[in-house]
């Protein structure tokens, strides 16, 4: 009880002096604002990438790939396995009563960037009929879907923005033939997506196996039925993966680097902010030596003094974090970022702001600790004699 009373009295006293020490107080606030602002805006890239990649992920979708393949690129599914796969249990049927299974082969071709005209590789996905059953959220924004058997492609709007010759009506040269872009669409992804007819792409690129089979499940629970059926069938060397798992693997590469850099830079900036805060608080405490000595002389204990200085430090750091997060939001939220060939909008979310507040709490507590100890041990007689 006594502790709480003393603590409140001291804290009110500390905060009342804030305006008279504006310079030192601002150092803490601005230091924390810069550290948190940088951390939040860098993490906003990873969050934005994830939000755009995972936007349409459904627990109802699964992908089958070879048992020993680490990712779909290294997997192969022969065409004669197709009917076996269509007969697997747990697969939803479309309006016509056919199982929703889309076989996909992915080939890499070159495009020229719109900005600097350099070559960049992009994947072309050849899919068997049923794409719109499997991905009902695929929205054609211009033109139409490709027709089977023809050299036709549809490209996501991201491709059209990033590279040349992806608008409707554009011709692309691939494998000794001209391919017509007949449609543009919107679909959640951080990279450019191009679809064409599966069998046409298989023959044009001299391939005879698909990479993966994408299936729509009857329900998320049907995934278990599918995996048991795959294990029980020795003629199919396949494993099932949730759509989210496949997307997560793709994200891991870019996000791993982004997160490492974000936390590395953020931690260094936080260290600098902590040192700055400690220095300012030392100066504040030194300026109040006499006041603190009097307080101790009239019976205030060490513990409430320590607690009040640390609390003051934290209370100054928190608005700094809010300012940092706000500036990050104003400057970067929704900004188009394109690291590592991907392209997405950065997202400053409330949870990132909360993370920033957490870091500020740490900076405030660590930076305030040593000055607080000094404040609690002001030698009463020496400090009072200096009047």
């Amino acid at each position: 009880m006594n502790f709480a009373k003393q603590f409140w009295a001291l804290l009110r006293l500390n905060l009342a002096g804030t305006l008279t020490r504006l310079g030192l107080v601002c150092t803490i606030v601005i230091g924390v604002a810069c550290a948190v602002g940088v951390l939040v805006s860098m993490l906003a890239m990873g969050v934005g990438a994830r939000r755009e990649a995972m936007g349409d992920v459904s627990p109802n979708r699964a992908t089958l790939i070879s048992v020993d393949a680490p990712s779909p690129a290294q997997s192969s599914i022969a065409q004669d396995e197709a009917s076996l796969i269509r007969d697997l249990p747990g697969i939803r049927r479309n309006a016509a009563g056919k199982p929703i299974v889309v076989f996909q082969v992915t080939v890499f071709v070159q495009a020229r960037s719109k900005i600097d005209r350099t070559h960049t590789g992009f994947p072309v996905m050849g899919v068997t009929p049923g794409l719109t059953d499997y991905q009902p959220e695929l929205r054609i924004t211009a033109g139409r879907l490709f027709n089977p058997g023809l050299h036709e492609l549809i490209a996501s709007n991201k491709c059209a923005r990033q590279y040349t010759d992806f608008g409707v009506g554009a011709k692309r040269h691939m494998r000794g033939g001209d391919w017509l872009v007949v449609g543009n669409f919107d679909l959640a992804s951080t990279v450019c997506l191009v679809f064409g007819d599966g069998d046409t792409i298989l023959s044009a690129f001299g391939r005879n196996t698909y990479n993966q089979a994408n299936v729509m499940l009857e329900s998320p629970a049907a995934f278990a039925d599918l995996t048991t059926a795959l294990k029980a069938n020795p003629s199919l060397h396949l494993k099932a993966q949730h759509e989210a798992e496949i997307f997560e693997q793709d994200l891991q590469q870019v996000n791993g680097i982004l997160n490492f850099v974000s936390y590395f830079v953020g931690a260094i900036m936080a260290l600098a902010a902590t040192i700055g805060a400690a220095n300012s608080l030392y100066a504040i405490v030194d300026g109040r030596r006499r006041e603190l000595a009097i307080l101790r002389a009239v019976g205030f204990n060490s513990a409430p003094i320590i607690a009040s200085v640390v609390s003051e430090s934290i209370l100054l750091a928190l608005p700094g974090a809010l300012i940092g997060a706000l500036v990050a939001w104003l400057l970067f939220n929704g900004l188009l970022a394109s690291p590592f060939g991907a392209s997405f909008h950065m997202a400053v979310t409330p949870s990132l702001a909360l993370l920033g507040l957490g870091w500020a709490l740490g900076i405030g507590a660590l930076g305030g600790l040593l000055p607080a100890l000094r404040a609690a041990h002001v030698p009463v007689t020496a400090a009072l004699r200096a009047i």
Binding site: G23, L24, C26, T27, I30, G31, C34, A35, G37, V38, S41, M42, M45, A73, V107, F108, V109, Q110, T118, H119, T120, G121, H173, R175, G176, F205, G206, R207, V261, V265, I268, M269, L271, A272, A273, I275, G276, A278, N279, S280, Y282, A283, D286, L331, A337, S338, P339, F340, G341
Partner: protein, 381 residues
């Protein structure tokens, strides 16, 4: 110069505070050095790659390799000085985790001169390789790792099948070479002829051609010429100079330029503010001391210079410590980006930044100290 002792004692008046300021500035400049150094180092390493070597690969990434007949067709293209090629496969030694990459070339100097900074082979070793069909050259590192010696026969297992139907390839070690950028997997150099005749699939094919052109400035044009030569054939090519490829690889970091700039400016703003307040605080605490100095006859200008001198000394010393730290970190980044080192221009740039920060931060407190009235100062007002 005669003020130096005064400046020095001013700096160490409160050792704890000065140490913390030094630390803060050093940390900030270490970050600056790492970020800017990374960017400048990448730019420089791209500029150092050769623009006159064109790398010819199959347009179908991961698809069938190119036919050997392209060798002669490339050599007949006007403007191309020489053409070489390389192939290879991944094998494993004894355990599936011990990967060994077999680089297969023609046993002449032609291909090796393209990358002299990476591979170095002595003429006698190259001659030995040329004489032994199934010969191989190894690095001393891999020799130590697996206990291989010249004269040994080593069996490798691979997914690339041998004509005998197995995945076992045997090489006879005939010499050594130097590899300056060793990757995680070991590497051995073997004869292309042996590999091509002994493989079950893709005989008479080549993974990549390397064309050296006479005029490096025409690299983009020549790349297009080569690609057009094989357009509409079943094996279309995709050609780009070493430099263009390096640019592409490094662009991922270039895209982060905007972010690097934002971070750097945030660091500098925070620093500027922090140092200004700290100097202000010192001046306030030392008001009586400055008043005494003025009474003794120190001019306003001298006082101003002393305060600026303190700030300069602290900032530049701390920046040097920070940049040295950043330089110390750089050898570790070589793991991710080979050949990266910190350019001296970044150090110079950092020091200029430190000077500016010190001058701007010290100006308000210094002018305050200079304008001080002796009477007020001594009265403690």
């Amino acid at each position: 110069m005669k003020y130096l002792p005064l400046i020095w004692s001013g700096i160490w008046r409160k050792p704890g505070r000065t140490a913390l300021v030094l630390l803060q500035v050093a940390v900030a400049f270490a970050l600056f050095g790492v970020l800017q150094g990374m960017k400048a180092g990448v730019d420089r390493s791209v500029a150092n790659t050769r623009a006159d070597v064109l790398f010819v690969a199959s347009a179908d990434f991961g698809g069938t390799p190119l036919p050997f007949s392209y060798f002669d067709r490339l050599r007949s293209v006007p403007g191309i000085k020489s053409v070489s090629f390389a192939d290879g496969f991944v094998g494993t030694y004894q355990r599936p985790t011990e990967a060994v990459y077999v680089l297969a070339i023609q046993p002449t100097n032609l291909w090796l001169t393209l990358v002299p900074e990476i591979f170095q082979v002595l003429p006698k070793d190259l001659e030995a390789l040329a004489k032994t069909r199934d010969g191989a050259l190894i690095t001393t590192d891999i020799g130590k790792k697996y206990g291989w010696r010249v004269g040994d026969r080593i069996p490798l297992t691979s997914n690339t099948l041998h004509v005998d139907g197995s995945g076992t390839w045997t090489f006879q070690i005939v010499g050594t070479f130097k590899d300056h950028e060793p990757g995680e997997a070991g590497l051995i150099v073997a004869n292309y002829d042996y590999l091509d005749k002994a493989r079950a699939f893709n005989q008479g094919s080549v993974r990549n051609f390397y064309a050296v052109i006479a005029e490096p400035t025409r690299a983009a044009e020549m790349s297009d010429t080569i690609d057009e030569l094989f357009v509409n054939s079943p094996n279309e090519t995709n050609t780009a100079s070493f430099r263009e490829n390096a640019q592409q690889q490094m662009r991922s970091i270039g895209d982060l330029n905007f972010l690097i700039r934002s971070v750097t400016s945030a660091v500098l703003v925070a620093l500027l503010f922090s140092i200004t307040t700290m100097m202000m605080q010192t001046i306030r605490e030392r008001t009586p001391e400055f008043a005494v100095l003025k009474t003794l006859g120190f001019s306003n200008r001298a006082i101003f210079l002393m305060v600026v001198g303190e700030s300069l000394l602290i900032c530049v010393a701390a920046a040097l410590i920070g940049l040295a730290l950043a330089m110390g970190v750089f050898p570790y980044t070589a793991k991710f980006i080979p050949g990266l080192s910190m350019p001296l221009s970044v150090v110079a740039f950092g020091l200029i930044g430190a000077l500016l920060v010190a001058l701007i931060a010290a100006a308000p407190p210094a002018s305050r100290a200079a304008r001080l009235q002796v009477v007020d100062g001594l009265a403690g007002r």
